[in-house]
Symmetry: C2
Subunit: 498 residues, 2 copies
């Protein structure tokens, strides 16, 4: 403690100044403290540490840390789409428009994007909602995808990745205190962006459980149960759905989506459809149905009334361009005044990153048949998606050969979320350490094998069950090694604690 | 209203369904409604409309809308730095590393950036705090800038533009209710990101007024007045300073900064220094002093205790790369536990856009003497900064020739914030329309001349005074036309309402 005599505006004051920090764990925003985000949690921090220790020559029982914790395709060796990167290079350094080695279709795309930028530069701010021409291209993409259901570019907001759009929408929704506080329904298991955003906003998280026995499908009676219980203590206003599922990898049937829309309509819930994995569908008989298309097929009673927001991103699918932070959301049936507020709110952050906007444009407007880059684009896209389909199958098959591990088919997205049996003794040891049993399991796996997975507790799971999430992204040869190491580890772990 | 019969889980219910919107202006987040952001407010929406009308062939008293509302350099014709864009193109499309027309230093920078990216791709997520090697380069830049004051890369967080960092820091600070609610001191006039963020977070905005008579300097007695008043109804915890000033263009003296630091220390306020215009200093005798450097020159009593966060960006200075949304913040003397919470919080959004991180790296690590791109880099940077200095002078000079307009010198940043005399009759007419008088004035100017400025009321100003903010960014010839049009308009307006 320091005593200082200060003299201000003619007034003498002797002031006891405690030079303790202004901002401490006890005086910081309490809602921020409640935020948790397992995908980059303690296990990942430890993985980074282990990588450093390896690089410093420390001896470990493994030679490499394999990060299967996050859907980070390029980091796992997936190659970017050549055409996309050519256009981005042209937009970054327009001198290259004179370079004859670049294909004409890449150049014409780049010219179109640059013409939409102030001063023809990606260095200019754009409209806060995103570049007009990009939003027009997004609208046409959605119309093609949904068999002609109309889409208004004014309903498209470009975003900084899908996360940005999701948080913005949740922010609009939150109001009330105590029993009237906004509640938002999210699936369990969930992608922890949702729980993190709800914690930060101080909204009530309403859990509905996916049905693991039925391949992680949604169950209307479970939605109803969760909603009815929640109504006793909060004001449920929105229902979030991730399809294809993260972390659970299921692809919802058209019937299920219709049922969910009817439920949302009847219960007056705004629907948030996280559809960032819309191209990642692998299982035979499965197909991606957008919530919007199904909504419009249900007729005007629904399509004129149900408030729906759908999110997409450049980070997943076949492009995997996470680092560019591109995305969009489409808002359907949103009240005009609220839309104006949304536009105002996004204007405070000026605009989403322009390279991400450009990339989003390329995703929704890729090379067309007859254009010079078309064949190579199709070849690259197909190669990536086929490899993912193969790895989805491989992952399911190998994991299901392990005694004490069982997993649903990876129908879509990029993850397997197997259920693991953890021996009672291990559960006890974890508890003694104050750790979730699956965190204990994953930490041990990391230390012994270098494999970084995310414990199921980071996503939520039925009490007494344990899981982990692993991505299917490593190259096939590495994935095979990884799966065999998981097998070995699980057997050893089970023996050790039996 | 629609009646629907629904049957769920065996239970029959007849439910009256009101199909009113879930989300309406009355049921949305009330803090979002309070957000205002004049830089992209109604006047800009009207400017965009006018541009459309012009392009559709509608007759107007002008042939072009000139947007002097926002610090958007490239949109106003400023050229990007060639070296920066070459490296970005190389990083986007690494095939170009084989292209002999690119200079070697650009290639080696690109290789270094790509080596720091997972899978050597800008499409990978990075660490949430930003790429390690970029943070190291930032730290070295700060050390050079501040004459050797040490900087730890662990204290650097890369951000999505400076706005992102500022909002994140404010978010950490907010807590308490009623008289213990966090208050944050901001200058008036201010950059409205601050008021918008505080409104959204529900924090208390504490206004301290800059002294227009003394070239918009900060006045400790005014800070004390504002703080003492605020202490009666909230818990002031932070003091925000923008230097060089936005919208006011002043550059603070070293003495003033020292006084402010002492004030913050004595009053236990966390300091937030918005230093995004650190290269934009034009007036003779003015120099940029970083808050950090001054803090460390004040000795350990201050440098060991005062919590300081400094923000920088790729959007301003000589680069003007707004669209890439690059930036960083340096946090000094932050409590370790709070820092861990900050790292966790930023991890939810995964990472700042990688092209923006790459650009930030180039800004802090530009071509060095002896490298092939050095001379051209210096030439381009000097040209841009000299042109800005010239336009700063031109703007001040012409505006001060107008009767009824007076402005301080534009010592730095990119804006002039002249005071305008609005005749009583015009004030009355504005009031009748429910408009701020300077909004009325700027709207009229836009309709009659096509010039888009932002009214002073969007930034805050002493009651009964009126201002506008205009950027000095248009090319000199266009700026001359613009200033003459402002002169003509002001004279006509004054006559009309006298």
């Amino acid at each position: 403690k320091v005593y200082t005599q200060t003299e201000h505006s003619g007034q003498k004051k002797l002031r006891l100044l405690s030079r303790a920090k202004v901002l401490t764990i006890d005086t910081m925003n309490p809602t921020v403290k409640k935020v948790e985000y397992a995908v980059r949690g303690p296990i990942v921090l430890r993985a980074v540490e282990l990588e450093r220790e390896l690089s410093e020559g420390m001896k470990k029982p493994f030679s490499e840390v394999i990060k299967a914790n996050i859907g980070d395709a390029h980091a796992m060796g997936q190659q970017p789409i050549t055409f996309f990167r050519q256009v981005l290079a042209l937009c970054s350094y327009p001198e290259l428009l004179n370079d004859s080695t670049f294909p004409e279709d890449a150049k014409s795309r780049a010219r179109r994007i640059l013409q939409s930028c102030g001063g023809n530069s990606m260095g200019s701010y754009t409209a806060s909602q995103g570049i007009d021409s990009v939003r027009q291209d997004v609208a046409r993409y959605i119309e093609r995808r949904d068999g002609g259901v109309p889409c208004d570019p004014d309903d498209i907001y470009l975003t900084t990745g899908a996360s940005d759009g999701i948080v913005t929408m949740l922010k609009l929704l939150v109001c009330g205190e105590g029993a009237t506080r906004t509640g938002v329904m999210i699936s369990i298991p969930q992608y922890p962006l949702y729980s993190a955003a709800l914690a930060e906003l101080g909204a009530v998280q309403i859990n509905y459980y996916l049905n693991e026995e039925k391949c992680w499908s949604m169950d209307i009676s479970e939605l109803q149960r969760a909603l009815d219980e929640a109504r006793r203590h909060c004001n449920p206003r929105a229902l979030c759905v991730i399809n294809p599922g993260n972390p659970t990898g299921q692809v919802q049937s058209r019937q299920c989506i219709e049922d969910v829309i009817r439920f949302a309509a009847n219960e007056r819930l705004l629907l948030m459809a996280d559809e960032v994995y819309q191209d990642n569908v692998y299982a035979e008989g499965c197909q991606f149905h957008s919530f919007k298309k199904v909504l419009f097929e249900m007729g005007p009673e629904y399509s004129d009334t149900v408030e729906l927001v759908s999110f997409h991103s450049t980070s997943k699918c076949y492009m995997g361009e996470c680092g560019f932070r591109g995305g969009y959301m489409e808002i359907i049936n949103m009240d005009d005044e609220v839309k104006a507020q949304l536009t105002k709110l996004v204007s405070v952050r000026l605009c989403p990153p322009v390279p991400g906007q450009a990339l989003m444009d390329l995703v929704v407007n890729p090379p067309q048949p007859g254009e010079p880059s078309h064949d190579n684009f199709i070849k690259e896209r197909t190669a990536t998606l086929s490899a993912l389909a193969e790895k989805a199958k491989l992952t399911e098959q190998v994991l299901n050969t392990i005694q004490g591990i069982s997993c649903n088919p990876v129908q879509g997205a990029m993850y397997s979320f197997p259920r693991i049996t953890i021996p009672e003794k291990a559960i006890q040891e974890a508890m003694d350490k104050g750790q979730e049993p699956d965190m204990f399991y994953c930490m041990k796996m990391l230390e012994e094998t270098g494999i970084c997975l995310v414990p199921g507790s980071g996503f939520g799971q039925t009490d007494g069950t344990y899981h982990f999430r692993m991505t299917i992204l490593p190259p096939t040869d590495k994935l095979t090694i990884l799966l065999n190491k998981v097998k070995e580890f699980h057997q050893k772990f089970t023996q050790q604690y039996s």
